[in-house]
Point group: C2
Chain length 350, copies 2
């Protein structure tokens, strides 16, 4: 077995509940394979503001820095929304986490599960077989440029360097090599200088991957194509802001956010997080769907090079779908509670 | 009858063909109502580059400045795409047109026509009854901020002033007063300073319209909601870049781009344009759908305060749909040619 330091940041809303189930599943994996994961817990988001006034306390950052990888639940609390002048916001914790740890590549697989096609707002023939992974640049662009107010206005600066583009482009092309060998660069090169730079650099990087076909698509067209014909996509590569929009759009085509994991990868550590967010209305009710977090834990196992273990977790999740051992959001009837679903997956592995 | 100066910019690809049909329809309106429209034609886009080296020749700009309103076909030619270093691009003509004429409000109605629901990638129950209008700010933001290269990178600056936000916000609220009295502001106020300014100003402007409910939605969520539940939207108000993406996304839910008109309105003149683009593969074949351009002409009639005339054009378009007098893209069988469809609509009015 191996030893790993795993950070655990449950965060806000349903975060703590879904994280608890992922840990349960990781524990089952560890007992079966003789691994030893040491967990270190930290606060982040609104809950961290409540405790310390800071959405990302130094202690939490230190936990992440020491970790081989870490799980992240969710952040966001309605009490901080709709207050444009709030000085401290939960999201700042997430942004600072990404930037401080250099988590530059946000990786989001989008799969349409056959058993859930009926839940999609899109027609079945449009989405059956969809299998996309989005590589979103996560520490550059307009998110992290200079921003501020002028006498009668405001500004946000978007910048990208060659280096920031190249490193994530390599990851996207490498991923395509294990997939359908197609990369779609999403940009707005007919308007933005940064997009023209993306196009230049990505065309350069593409030369290292002659087996991969590269297509460039304007973001407005991509937003249409994602609904019109999502099956055309394999790997999508894009900058931070466009990635935020396109990956969220892509996430609904499969019919449920409750199954979508994500990774945010840097050179030193990596973060694994369900994409569904904090869903405050469900917090504390033991009804939230833990599968996206469990699948995020599977991505983490892959990242830690525990490939068989990751496969086993995914098979257990498939079994829970097949047996209808799912929460209300996916169930044809009432569904099961958060912890019952986690128990099923953990027991299936054991 | 009234006298009006109408600019006509057919542009590239299928532009000239669809514009010809819209003019045919306007002529029918003029004869019936005794109006006199004087048309002045100008080049724009790739065709203008070919003729003059300039995507927006001064002559064309002068035509637009003198006009009470003008029709625009489409721009874009594949020979200028995928060349990130091209010095002159057709799109520059469009951007300069918007900026020089101060066309600050791009207005895009999105309607799901009952007879075309089967063509949508979305399930019928999701879109039946959808009726959205997007107000996109068109002369500010990252489109028109400073942009350039640095030693090892590139930048684009996004700026907004109070004034730029207020004037389009008023238009959006006024539009909501004649509709379902709901405005959704789409922004990214959890990350961008300009978005926080939008939220502040729009909340201020909202005070003048106590009958209208205002909701603020993050752009990533809006991209999801547009597919998940488009019926929740009435008027969408947003900045330039987000509007580009969200309005194109919205345009596919109804199943056909071929029916969607748009207006770009300023204080002096206004431009009316189908949203479908130049569709070069179809150019010169007499197969392009002219209805979006004809419906854009109807929006122009509204703008010129010729309300009954606009209604009549829309009724004629509905009749062409009802009778299956449509081009191949909308037809259950082979469909009719571009000019046959235009003839039908013009004759229906006459
Ligand atoms: C919470 C917010 C700052 C964040 C982002 O925009 O990156 C979220 O939408 C995401 O995609 O993880
Ligand atoms: C051609 C391009 C510059 C333009 C834009 O981005 O505004 C187009 O996509 C549009 O929406 O009219």
């Amino acid at each position: 077995g191996v030893k790993k330091n795993i950070g655990v940041l449950p965060g806000d809303g349903i975060g703590p509940e879904v994280i608890a189930e992922a840990i349960k599943v990781l524990d089952a994996v560890c007992s079966k394979y003789g691994h030893k994961f040491t967990y270190a817990y930290g606060h982040v988001g609104a809950v961290a503001i409540d405790h310390t006034g800071n959405p990302l306390p130094d202690e939490t950052l230190a936990i992440c820095e020491r970790s081989d990888a870490f799980l992240f639940g969710a952040i966001g609390d309605p009490k901080y929304d709709n207050d444009p002048k709030a000085k401290v916001r939960p999201e700042q914790g997430l942004l600072k986490l990404r930037k401080s740890l250099g988590l530059y590549a946000n990786i989001r697989p989008v799969t349409a599960y056959d058993s859930l096609l009926h839940m999609s707002p899109l027609k079945t023939e449009k989405i059956k077989g969809v299998d996309i992974v989005v590589y979103r640049e996560l520490t550059g662009g307009i998110y992290f440029g200079e921003k501020g107010r002028t006498e009668d206005g405001a500004f946000d600066h978007c910048t990208y360097s060659n280096y920031e583009i190249d490193r994530i482009a390599h990851l996207a092309f490498q991923s395509a090599q294990n997939r359908k060998k197609h990369v779609t660069l999403v940009d707005k090169a007919n308007v933005l200088e940064t997009s023209r730079l993306w196009r230049e650099r990505v065309n350069e990087v593409a030369k290292d991957y002659p087996d991969i076909s590269l297509e460039c698509m304007f973001v407005d067209n991509a937003a249409m194509q994602m609904i019109q014909n999502p099956k055309q996509f394999d790997v999508i590569l894009t900058e931070n802001m466009f990635g935020d929009i396109i990956s969220d759009e892509a996430s609904v085509i499969g019919g449920s956010l409750g199954l979508l994991p994500s990774a945010s990868v840097g050179d030193k550590t990596a973060m694994f997080e369900p994409i569904h967010g904090s869903y405050p209305q469900a917090a504390g009710k033991n009804i939230a769907n833990p599968l996206a977090t469990i699948l995020s834990a599977a991505m983490m196992l892959d990242h830690l090079n525990l490939i068989d273990e990751a496969i086993e977790v995914r098979q257990a999740v498939s079994a829970s779908l097949r047996h209808g051992m799912v929460t209300a959001d996916l169930a044809r009837n009432d569904g099961y509670s958060t912890d019952r679903v986690g128990d099923f997956v953990a027991n299936y592995i054991a």
